[in-house]
Symmetry: D2
Subunit: 251 residues, 4 copies
């Protein structure tokens, strides 16, 4: 029979993972600290909290992404149910969106687990991706060139906080190797950097997407509030209808 370590309550108290909600958590920890605690089971130190805050802040908002579109269309169709509009937008945080973060983190995890000379591992990984003409996850950006402006500040922050270790080290070696085999500079992108930062603070690759979901929920709430003022959803629907003409099979 299953048990749970997450929470329990009685008439006069609420307990979350062994801590008293009122005595230990409310007013004592930030929401970022609680998020770390709820997902890893450990309370973060100040450096880990600072790094997680930086990751959550970076992931929250990217403008009119597909997820923001979904949220705005739902906010217009189902008024008064913000949770439905946020839920719809969050569902877009799948392989396409979060894939490079998870994929890069998984490469770094595997490289660190393998041990040995990081250079050898990175040479092999980059060569394998080039052989099948796939980009190395966490590298390249369609828009931010030559460098993703978020990457270096994120890595520097981790170094300043003293959490930078084998994963960020591996990412830097991988970057050198990506450039060398490509014969030109390809940026580490923000999701690659965040994958490495999360590993350094003990958030494994398979939970990283969940952190993006938490973060993005705040951004999508902002879109719902703006949508209630500016009403873009019907304009988007109209634009789409005009832009995508009907062509019968017979034509």
């Amino acid at each position: 029979m299953a048990t749970t370590k997450i929470a329990t309550a009685d008439a006069t108290s609420v307990t979350i993972r062994g801590k008293d909600l009122v005595g230990d958590l409310i007013g004592k920890v930030s929401f970022t600290e609680l998020t770390y605690f709820l997902t890893t089971g450990r309370m973060p130190d100040a450096a880990q909290t600072r790094v997680l805050d930086a990751c959550l802040v970076t992931l929250a908002e990217h403008g009119f992404t597909p997820g923001a579109l979904v949220t705005r269309l739902l906010a217009d169709s189902v008024p008064g149910q913000v949770q439905v509009a946020i839920a719809g937008g969050l569902m877009t945080v799948g392989e396409v969106f979060a894939g490079t973060m998870e994929g890069c983190a998984a490469l770094l995890e595997a490289g660190v687990a393998e041990g040995g000379d990081p250079s050898d591992y990175c040479k092999r990984v980059v060569a394998e991706h080039r052989a099948v003409k796939k980009p190395v996850p966490g590298f390249g950006h369609g828009f931010h060139k030559p460098d993703d402006p978020r990457t270096e500040p994120l890595l520097t922050l981790a170094e300043d906080c003293g959490v930078a270790g084998k994963y960020i080290g591996m990412l830097r070696v991988l970057a050198t190797e990506v450039d060398a085999q490509a014969g030109r500079h390809i940026t580490i992108n923000a999701t690659g950097a965040i994958g490495a930062l999360l590993l350094e603070i003990g958030v494994p690759a398979n939970i990283a997407r969940g952190m993006a979901v938490v973060s993005r929920s705040a951004g999508l709430l902002g879109h719902i509030i703006e949508e209630s003022e500016t009403r873009s959803a019907r304009e988007i629907a109209r634009l789409t209808k005009e832009a995508i003409p009907y062509r019968s099979d017979d034509q």
Copy 2:
């Protein structure tokens, strides 16, 4: 034509509501501060941040709620798509779950907007609810008796932070009146207190539910992680089948 104030980007920068993501936000603000900024358009001061953190920390996790069940069932059915499992669980944050928070905040907003003697307003509101045998939203708890243990610490924290004003004042008058007309003590519950706290820091009633959604996303991620270890979903499905027997119309 609609415009957006939320975000823009060019090759070397990302701008969020007029601030440079790299220069002004990453490493400079916490995720809680960013959430406030994205939803109100203003950067919070330290007191507002502390109050919002307390609200988000209180709302994140309540054990095996209906939302946690939905998330666990989805995590089991759609492996590897945490965003789908979180989205499903978040959809439960509707009128039933968030209603008392919104309802209580709306009563407080209306009372403050009306001006006049809070006592007169609260007497009338309580009497109106009693006349139709409806509980005053934000009061009473099925389980936490005689007092919800989260309420007083939340209100005290707001007072200590210096943000307690007309809304918390109105809530305290309302509480006196609820007890007087009921002829016994009925607790202010945590969602009533949080509704008042959010109003004090400038988060209106109609956005309060969104804050619960952001907060709950972290709790649900914790449930997915535990579900991947303890596998409760099929046990829940089996229990339910056994507990709810089939009875034909003909029987």
Copy 3:
């Protein structure tokens, strides 16, 4: 303790609402008949089936609706999970989309329940809506003028099938009154007609939206299949970004 009338199974049989799935349903009834049976508890006769088929056929597909956009955006973001893309699109079938169908059906239900002269009821209902400058639900169409081409064929089909009774009668009286008080012709729209048809076959107003959901699921599946071939989602996202410019608060 709750019980269920819906389904049970043992090693050698499956029973659905008292009928044997293999002996009574598979190969014996159409999916439309089963849908009626699952939602009303009664097996429809041929006329009711024909009317429900006509309603489901009418509601399935309307081109690039907001729901189709949501589905296409999700299909692009979460490849290989058609159920997620369909679910997202279906969530748009809320008050805005299905509201006129439910609203019109509720008016007809109330009028028939009231008894008395339909003319008196309809006069009053139209006047009440005009007094608050609200359209009567089920009347008017932004695009199909002077008449929604779907309405008359739907009503005629119900009459030909012999199911037209008090609800369609009430709708026709209501239409006369809408025109009279407006001083011009306003079409009964397809959702108004469908609301009346569903009532005639015993599907109440509060279940009508569910029929739209079932029907629309097939249309959205068609959009996912086309999206996999023509890839419109990213074009839609790009168009939207271009169409909705960023304006800082400071500008």
Copy 4:
């Protein structure tokens, strides 16, 4: 630039995939025929319609599945939004639920595409699955033993309709081989049979899950209606809380 073949409309007509909605579809085709038309682009003949109806009827309802639980929990939490409750339940139709249908269909597709002696192909496929101790998708059932009661009627119906061809032939050879290598009888289950039937009528493996989604939407609507009468959701939540006790990490 993308185009669409799905639908268009003008003031006096609606066109769906080249057919006039009013003249060609309403009252002329069943919802099952329209579903086939919307997903394949072809209007089915009578035999194909009968087979698709049988598949949709079989998949619609299975009692208190995880999807039904999700739908009931959402119906209780978000009253009045049936589309949200149906959407949540449909999201469970992922690899776990629909995987054997898709997996079996993919095996049959590959075997038919390979040509050659079906026996050789099936021997190899079964041996490969046994080597990695994986069940052959579409075979075995935890509950329906020795035979899934739905399978033979579905296959017989396809044969009676004259649509049984290479795919059902391949499934029967596969069944012989599964039994031979297992040394005992293992049933073809309903999802295996449905995968084969859908292939025979031209619905490929990657669309089969979508048909399950359409079908299941009707079943879930039935659960919402029953839930509104019998209120099982809170009982389920209570049962779960009792069944899954809290154990602190410290214990």
